[in-house]
């Protein structure tokens, strides 16, 4: 058993580093495609302004990409460094998508990104365009594989526990790849990335138009971002809905927690828009409910109920007891008693082994747990509702506001009325929303999976490395310190180049320049 402090600190550190990493990833995912679109338009029309757009937004892409790579390196190290039991327990399954991510996606993205920036003079128009598309493809493929890995953490299909090696092992790679949780997460996450990039370009173009500078450049950027962004935000919302449905099937406890669904209601269940959930009392005070909505989203039917937390708790009490049996049998197998009876019995209970492991929080031996400890373990198997309830609603609210903004933006850009001040100001103020949505979304995904690292298989408190508190304090301080400095530098450079606008390309065509390649 690892000290609780060490586990908590490890969790804080992983949360901080991954949320920080995800500040930069969505922009990379989406902006790479926006660049590809801009460059395609350049190749199609031959107009230099589109090349300027590709290069200017590409400059901002580069500033962002640098930090994406930096923080991404941390993630690869962190599984082994801070979560070594996890890495051993599921490495057979989890390691493969990560390695494939490297082979298929990182190589593609990183090799060609250099040519994207430095190959303009050495490549033909068509070749360079291909490169831009490949960079976009590479970054999205990396999202695919990491989400296959994360999807497996949420819904561990295609794998089985092997008592001889004390770990989970792959039984079916195709189940892993086509895991419904992975599929829906992937499309939802990349769509969120596309939305983020579109909102970014939209806001900055709006800023230029508000300042009355570089109108032609800004208007074209705005128009492209509006079109791409509308498709993106629609996908995000549709796939968010699909995620809810998938959770209703494979991760019922998460759906119940997000919705503060304390009891199984008569189908179709109502959606609680606002309220004050109370986990101890298992009720939501001052709830404002919208009838039928939850049932329709969660089950796509009017007669299938959404399982409530109370019912899940009831089931989990039984599962903890099964887990105890599984644990005892596992011990016998490990001691060498490998007769058919033990093996069959173990197979019967091993899906609940994880629930048995929850007891380790209260007693190292597991098999001697008292009824009180079993009750505590069952309670512990449910995630904390209040944080999930609010972050989920924050994410959805941001999503719907962005939907409205993109609809307005597309309409305006189609009828060439982009220069309305109210719309430009709205576009500008929308800038932080996708980031809020992305971070809250990830919080919901990961916090909703607690107390497990691998749902129902390995609890978080057992997954950490056997380090000391000092180790964690030092690494946490290092990360926070360095990351803060990097963020300040990155924001400084971003803002500098955003303020300068396309004049920073020194082409002699833009607001702050004095014609033909003159120095600023």
């Amino acid at each position: 058993m690892i000290a609780e402090n060490v586990v908590d600190l490890s969790r804080w550190q992983f949360a901080a580093t991954s949320l920080y990493h995800f500040l930069f990833v969505p922009l990379t995912l989406g902006l790479s495609f926006l660049l590809a679109i801009m460059e395609s338009t350049y190749v199609m029309t031959g107009k230099e302004i589109y090349k300027d757009m590709t290069q200017f937004w590409g400059k901002l892409f580069g500033i962002n990409f640098a930090l994406g790579v930096t923080t991404g390196l941390t993630m690869e190290f962190e599984f082994g460094m801070n979560w070594s039991y996890f890495s051993h327990y599921v490495g057979d399954v989890f390691g493969a998508p990560l390695a494939i991510e490297g082979l298929m996606a990182f190589f593609l993205e990183s090799t060609f990104v250099g040519l994207f920036f430095f190959g303009w003079d050495k490549l033909g128009k068509g070749q360079h365009l291909l490169i831009t598309w490949l960079v976009a493809l590479g970054s999205n493929l990396s999202a695919l594989w990491i989400l296959v890995a994360n999807g497996w953490m949420q819904n561990p299909v295609g794998a089985d526990f092997n008592y001889e090696t004390m770990r989970m092992e792959i039984t079916s790679f195709s189940s892993l790849l086509f895991n419904p949780a992975a599929q829906v997460k992937f499309v939802h996450t990349v769509a969120a990335g596309y939305t983020t990039a579109s909102a970014f370009v939209l806001a900055i173009s709006a800023y230029y138009m508000l300042k009355g500078r570089d109108a032609a450049f800004a208007q074209r950027s705005y128009t492209i971002a509006a079109g791409f962004g509308l498709a993106a935000i629609l996908s995000v919302i549709v796939l968010g809905d699909e995620s809810g449905y998938t959770d209703g099937e494979v991760q019922k406890v998460k759906l119940a927690a997000i919705e503060a669904e304390w009891h199984t209601e008569a189908a179709p269940a109502a959606f609680t828009a606002i309220g004050i959930p109370d986990q101890d009392a298992m009720e939501t005070r001052y709830a404002v409910k919208i009838p039928w909505v939850l049932g329709l989203i969660g089950t796509r039917s009017v007669d299938e109920p959404i399982t409530g937390l109370t019912e899940i708790l009831e089931k989990n009490r039984l599962r903890v007891r099964n887990g105890m049996k599984a644990y005892a049998l596992l011990h016998e197998l490990r001691q060498g008693k490998r007769d058919d009876v033990t093996l069959t019995e173990f197979d019967r209970y091993k899906t609940d082994l994880g629930y048995g492991l929850l007891l380790k929080r209260y007693t190292e031996a597991v098999v001697d747990a008292t009824d009180q400890q079993i009750e505590l373990a069952a309670q512990y198997s449910l995630p904390r509702v209040v944080p999930l309830f609010w972050t989920f609603r924050a994410m959805v609210a941001c999503g719907f506001i962005m939907l409205a903004v993109f609809v307005f933006a597309v309409i305006a850009s189609s009828i060439r009325r982009c220069r309305q001040t109210w719309l430009l100001k709205l576009s500008l103020y929308t800038l932080p929303l996708p980031w809020i949505a992305c971070e809250t979304g990830w919080f919901v995904a990961e916090f909703g999976r607690q107390p497990w690292t691998i749902a129902e298989i390995l609890p978080t408190f057992l997954s950490a490395s056997s380090l000391t508190e000092l180790d964690l304090y030092l690494s946490l301080a290092g990360y926070l310190g360095l990351y803060t400095v990097f963020l300040i530098i990155e924001m400084f450079l971003m803002l500098k180049f955003i303020k300068l606008g396309p004049s920073s390309l020194h082409k002699g065509r833009y607001h702050f320049e004095i014609a033909k390649g003159a120095a600023l």
Partner: protein, 190 residues
């Protein structure tokens, strides 16, 4: 299944972005064709220029950045009658071509105001830069543009800095008229 949807959706989204902007291009091309140009130099004529000038001046005033106007007066034409018409035309066209190359496309506007005056509106340029640009243009036109020997070039610069206290700037159109008045009076010759 969703992976497949992703590819489809992505292609749709990209197409939406491209189509949206191509529409914009088509509309702008149409607009451009319907703006009245001076037939000889293919620059804007006086009327179109005044319209655009109003917009640009307004914009600068709203956002607080300076606005420069350069006029290039090719004197020596009307004074001597020895020049043939076509020589005059060719010179004017060469000057116009040179300027089209040198100014910031999409930001600056160049127009032919009358027989020998070309006006360049350059939003965002402060005084010093405008003066430097003006003298550079003057030099270049002397040295590079093919013209008869007696051609004299005068370049005048007017820079408006905002906010201004001059009470003469009441309405927008009045501003523009006044601006042009000051220009023609050569308030600041280089």
């Amino acid at each position: 299944m969703w992976y497949f949807t992703w590819i489809l959706g992505l292609l749709l989204a990209c197409s939406l972005g491209i189509i949206n902007v191509l529409r914009l291009e088509a509309q702008e091309a149409w607009d451009k064709e319907h703006i009245s140009l001076d037939p000889l130099t293919q620059l804007m004529n006086k009327d179109s220029m005044i319209g655009r000038l109003k917009e640009k001046v307004d914009n600068s005033r709203l956002n607080g950045f300076p606005f420069s106007i350069l006029t290039i007066n090719l004197t020596g034409f009307s004074e001597q009658n020895e020049f043939l018409d076509y020589e005059v035309d060719t010179t004017l066209r060469n000057v116009a071509d040179y300027l089209k190359e040198e100014v910031r496309a999409g930001v600056d506007i160049v127009a032919r105001m009358d027989k020998q005056t070309i006006l360049i509106a350059m939003p965002g340029l402060p005084v010093k830069t405008a003066e430097q640009t003006a003298s550079r243009f003057k030099q270049d036109i002397f040295n590079k543009v093919k013209a008869p020997k007696n051609l004299a070039v005068e370049v005048a610069v007017l820079v408006a800095q905002y906010p201004i206290n001059d009470s003469a700037f009441t309405t927008v159109s009045k501003e523009v008229e006044n601006l042009l008045q000051m220009v023609c009076n050569k308030t600041h010759t280089v």
